[in-house]
Symmetry: C2
Subunit: 267 residues, 2 copies
């Protein structure tokens, strides 16, 4: 048989991109790779801190939507892709010791331990694809910038050493597009879901939209309204602030590519 179904072709594409990453041939950003596939933020922590972090994610599902949590010491993530090995399948990692960046390797096989738990957290790439497919323009993508992100005054619910403010991403939209964007992203609770705020940024503690805490500023035009989503930088900020003895994350923009399709996340 020579015929290959569209889904088979799509999974082959994610396998191919992941193979390039696994071999070390690709060590950069994953934006634009394996289009249509779910990409995830990665946090790897030793037990028992991992148990605190799991409760933190459970209590803050909008900024920390869990796509998968491994068994301790288990490097495979079969629910995200049959062949995924978290020790080799992220293009570039960050290794943190006592909360300080210690190394940025492309493979963590030599660091693997029997007490490590992997968390894969949903990412806005998935809902942005749905917005673009719906004809809603996203300025930071048109301008090839990173999305603007801010520390809000919305508190997260703490768990053990993990706490801190919710980080939000902002996308300026015309009102009709903002309404449509709320409808569309409501269908994607595992990748941050509906916005947490619209309109006046001061109401969530943001003094100046032109000065984001992370990412790049984008203009908000006079006929647009700023729309704020919970952001996956929230758990990273909480993790950095908790200063765990040992932790591994993905390097910014260098995400885990999964076999899951963004379309399949929609409820």
């Amino acid at each position: 048989m020579n015929s290959t179904s569209p889904i088979e072709k799509s999974i082959l594409k994610s396998l191919k991109d992941r193979a390039a990453i696994r071999s070390g041939a690709w060590t950069g950003h994953t934006s634009g790779l394996a289009v249509g596939h779910v990409q995830g933020n990665v946090v790897i922590l030793p037990e028992p801190l991992a148990n605190n972090f799991l409760r933190y994610c459970q209590r803050n599902p909008k900024p920390c939507p869990l796509l998968a949590v491994s068994e301790p010491g288990q490097a495979l993530l079969p629910s995200l892709g049959a062949d995924i090995d978290i020790r080799t399948d992220v293009p570039r990692y960050r290794v943190w010791r006592d909360g300080t960046l210690a190394d940025q390797p492309t493979d963590i096989s030599n660091l693997w331990r029997g007490d490590l738990v992997t968390f894969v957290i949903g990412c806005s790439f998935s809902f942005e694809e749905a917005l673009l497919e719906a004809g809603i323009p996203l300025r930071h993508i048109a301008q090839q910038r990173n999305v603007a992100m801010y520390r809000s005054n919305i508190p997260t619910t703490s768990s053990g050493p993990f706490s801190g403010p919710m980080v939000v991403s902002m996308r300026p939209l015309k009102a009709a597009d903002a309404i449509r964007a709320i409808q569309i992203t409501s269908r994607f609770p595992t990748v941050h879901g509906a916005p947490v705020h619209i309109g006046n940024p001061e109401l969530i503690g943001i003094a100046d939209l032109a000065a984001p805490d992370y990412g790049d500023p984008v203009d908000v035009l006079s006929d647009e309204i700023p729309v704020f989503w919970a952001c996956g930088v929230t758990p990273q900020a909480a993790m950095t602030q908790a200063r765990p003895e040992f932790c591994i994350t993905h390097a910014p923009g260098a995400m885990l590519i999964t076999d899951l399709l963004n379309h399949h996340l929609a409820i």
Copy 2:
């Protein structure tokens, strides 16, 4: 058997309220009657104008969501309630001749003709009930005022003599409630559905929120955002402007009570 199911009890309540209306014992507003039941705006037009009006509603489903359209000359509306007779079951009617208000009877049996077509159009009472049940406060209800309504600069799509701007209703909400209200009302497309605008009123041609074209003004507090829904006054305004030779509507606030439950409208 003495047992009566909750749904049977509920239908009995709508039957009882409709019986009071039919007998002429109740000729006032229907707000607060048959709670939980769908109430509808009523427009009755002779053919062939009714065909134009049907196309107008089809082309403008957000301001003119059709719950039912009768066969010509057919006074019963079995899809809305087994015993509904449109000639007797609205508390008070308005009879229009050449676009001018001619009479406000409580029964139109003597005016009934074989060419009359009845339109029942969804009403915001249904989605307001869903918002209140979700814990979203609505100021005009708390203050016992009519909702604020405005002629926007959003055009409707014309059909024959029916045209004109979309009339919108405005409810001020905190941002988180506005997001939730968009989610909730999106599930009710037959009662105006999701908002058509949020934020800056000038963008849809409203110069002064304090001066509504219909209804009563309500305050918009500094931590609130105005949220605008398409309004059932739109088809009434189009009908009045078209000045049909003969037309019957419900009197403002005196709606048709149906056997349908608001909960059942949710998609």
